[in-house]
């Protein structure tokens, strides 16, 4: 279930700018994930073999995972890799499918823009109260701000999907 096969592949990023953005975001996520893995391993080995755990590995893991998701969400959305129930999708074709993709893109735009705004408010609140992690005193506001940014980029990705759906609607005869 972690990788539901899609009935139709998402629109491939044909525009060079999008392809580059996708590569950059993917690489950043890859580095974060590798760091998360290495950090956990060093922490456990340090704790058992040298009685010296890595300070703050716990909270770094938490923040790293949030960052990975914020950075990757635009790619997942752009590629249309979100899980669906997948019941009648294969049955929809041509214009109906284009209209469906249009509606999905619209919902994604509204939803992600809204979440981006709410995440920005959360970042402001963290900033105002000076919220930080307990061991390393890492401020939470920048991570939440990254979330607002990531969701804003995801909104852009959904706009690309909207444009693609509109173009398909225009191409397909009714």
């Amino acid at each position: 279930m972690s990788d539901s096969p899609k009935s139709e592949p998402g629109p491939a990023p044909t525009v060079p700018v999008i392809a580059v953005a996708e590569r950059v975001l993917g690489t950043v996520a890859a580095i974060l994930l590798f760091t998360m893995m290495a950090m956990t391993t060093v922490d456990v080995i340090g704790r058992y073999l040298f009685a010296r755990p890595l300070d703050g590995a716990y909270e770094l893991t938490q923040l790293a995972m949030a960052a990975i998701v914020f950075v990757t969400l635009p790619i997942v959305t752009l590629r249309g890799e979100h899980v669906t129930v997948g019941l009648f999708e294969a049955a929809m074709k041509g214009r109906v499918a284009a209209v469906r993709d249009l509606v999905i893109a619209l919902v994604a735009i509204v939803g992600c823009a809204f979440m981006s705004w709410r995440m920005a408010i959360l970042a402001q609140r963290f900033e105002r109260f000076g919220d930080e992690t307990s061991t390393l005193a890492i401020p939470l506001a920048p991570i939440a701000a990254l979330g607002a940014l990531g969701l804003a980029v995801t909104t852009l990705a959904a706009l690309v999907l909207l444009a693609a759906a509109l173009a398909r609607l225009k191409r397909t005869p009714s």
């Binding site: 972690s2 590798f34 998360m36 922490d43 456990v44 899980v83 669906t84 019941l87 939803g111």
Partner: protein, 431 residues
Amino acid sequence: MIAALSSFVVLFGLLFLGLPLAFALGLVGYVAFGLVVGFTPAGAMAAQVAWDTLTSYSLSVLPLFVLMGNLVNHAGLSRDLYAASNAFVGHRRGGLAMATIIACGGFAAVCGSSLATAATMATIALPSMRRFGYAEALSTGSVAAGGTLGILIPPSVIMVIYGTMTETSIGQLFVAGILPGTLGILLYVLAVLTVVTIDPKAGPAGPRLSWGARFRALRDVWAILGLFILVIGGIYLGVFTPTEAAGIGAAGAFVIALLRGSLTFKTLVGVLAETARTTAMLLAVLVGALIFSNFINVAGLPEAIVSGIRALDVPPLGVILLLLCFYLVLGCVFDALAMILLTIPVFFPLVQGLGFDPVWFGIVVVVVVEISLITPPIGMNLFVIRSVLKDVPMTTIYRGIVPFIVADIVRLAIIVLIPAFVLFLPSQMAP
């Protein structure tokens, strides 16, 4: 109550239209919460749920275990696993199908996803069984069924999600999956035996290998066994938390892939980025589900159902049986993840209120979800097979899966009637 039920109707409508789960759940949950409590608190709740979920330490097992599975698969160990199982049972009648089941079980021990297990084994085992003249029904059935073991034999994505939604120990759930998973392998092998006893032509015997060749084949899979023992053994003995185990497991898989020379810098970045995408997708769905589940709780649906069932005076086991029937029917048309996310917020309080063990119910739900993956007409694993073997008619795949569904029902009955079978291992764990 009315509000909650109508929200389900709207939600199903959106899902059937093809709206992604994450958006549909989040949208309906937010709007409905807003209508009941007010839109300002609803917005704040949505952001808080997103933040809490994405920064949840216990959920960080997801990316790490997914990474472990992807790395092991990338290292080509799944192929070795099949070759090794084949070396031991391939000379028997139906042996290749049995080897498929066993290899699926082995791969499941390092992979937490049923679709990934089925997809991996499909590309390896199906061509091989075709070469030996296996009946398509038997070969496709064994891969589809074996693949379901991915979410029962730890690690398991579904268990992590169940554990998060119900605040049940993920470590205990993992350990509880070991015996039912092993039973699953045995019963599936029995199903294969039954099929070839009735129709010997369905699974002709392969060549017999010498013991030397067998142990040489085994040499390549020690790594998988070692990883599994390290990861699950570590959780069992309380040496590390599930997240730490997942990190160690991923690092171990990384070292194995490096040693086997199958990893370049470019492919490593590819595997990592793919894992990150799977993580983002899973967590987005989970955020949506938790927003929706907050609404369900505010609307008081679980309490209403609990008191409704109490009033009916049905015996607790009767309630469980009703739930199972509901799940089996729902499973014919619903995807595994969707089923868990939609039903757990409503059913879990009920089951807990009746005094059942949360770990036991988690395993029951996972087994039911496994069945849903292979029940026609909509079973995700069947579609995975179909996408690999495009020339096999869907009806053949449907026919082939029947003996395995029977095996699953037997296993479900054992698990439901003998809770100790599930709960014995977790009860022995270090606290």
